[in-house]
Amino acid sequence: MTTPTPRARLRVPNVTPGARILSFGDYQPSKVVTNDDLAKTVDTNDEWIRSRVGIAERRIAGDDESLVDMAVHAGGKALAGSGLAPDDIDLVIVATASHDVPMPNVSAPTAHRLGIHAPGAFDLNAACSGFCYALATASAAVRGGSARNVLVIGAEKTSQWIDWTDRSTCIIFADGAGAAVVAGSDEPGIGPVVWGSAGDQADKISIADRNSFITQEGQAVFRWATTAIAPIALEACERAGITPADLGAIVPHQANLRIVDSIARKVGATNAVVADDIVTSGNTMAASIPLALAHMIERGDVRSGDPALLIGFGAGLAYAAQVIQIP
């Protein structure tokens, strides 16, 4: 194919060499649901849940608490931490797979409620890997000159897609939101993303129709996650030009503590703290990685400047990984 001769030359903005995360924000509903609480309604028990998935308790949103409410809380916290004004944000991306309606999206009303005037706003569905996809998109937008600063939010109200009588899923999933503000920088703070999908396994985690709930083939997903994902994570390190020994933290999607431990073991980062936020937060899908990071920063588990490996994987099946610098 030949390149067309332009009638008028299009102007492109000057590119910014890097993008980095300025701040994180988190939000979880106040209602705590323990394993003992679940054991009252389905045939399960605390010991079984802890040993199979590693969860002790999770947070579940109230009926009056919407996905937008949670996104606003987490996004507002990240925005406040960034030192930027709402009007410095040109783009808002919400990664979610649990919205109750296809339209309007979550991002536009969220931006409005945060006082961000007329930003680009879209939702992104890559299920549990959504935050990593959104972060990569935000980084590209900033570096390419499409936005000065981007608010990235992972928010999920999984509880509205859960069959509370199905003991194989209701013990796992939870609600919450996590957010990050991405800005341009001379020093790169977000490494190249390694992303992909395995659509031949689309039926492994799904919601069949609008009257159905989340179902998953646990064993098949477990096998995929414990074999296919560690090589992706190692590739993300390589593409960022670092070795696993340089990592200060590994933050896999908080799907199941045994998957988290298996991936961390295979990545083999001896000096890194491994996120185990699932123990008290459950599996919050696209929110799990930013939630875990916000909690780790708050507790002082990681220091500013530490390289952290983010690894998203889940329904699609889709996956994405990148190395970031802790703000």
Partner: protein
């Protein structure tokens, strides 16, 4: 790999089980039932199957895994596919 003897597969399996679930190698004998005797759950069985795949070059799909109740069952399965 070349076809392994029953003892070689047993030793290899015992090593994998020790590594994944921390059960002493001596505990792993052919007649042991994974769930009832060794207290190994279905997710650990998946991890063991994946490790066995790397070690013996034999794929153990989830559908087959359900039928492999004892250590001896796995040894037979690996031997049959290697033959």
């Amino acid at each position: 790999m070349a076809q392994a003897t029953e003892q070689q597969i047993l030793d290899g399996l015992a090593e994998i089980i020790d590594e994944i679930v921390g059960i002493d190698k001596d505990e792993v004998t052919p007649e042991k039932n994974f769930i009832d005797d060794l207290d190994i759950d279905s997710l650990s069985m998946v991890e063991i199957a994946v490790a066995a795949q790397d070690k013996f070059g034999v794929e153990i799909p989830d559908d087959e895994l359900r039928n492999l109740k004892t250590v001896k069952d796995v040894i037979n399965f690996v031997q049959n596919l290697q033959a």
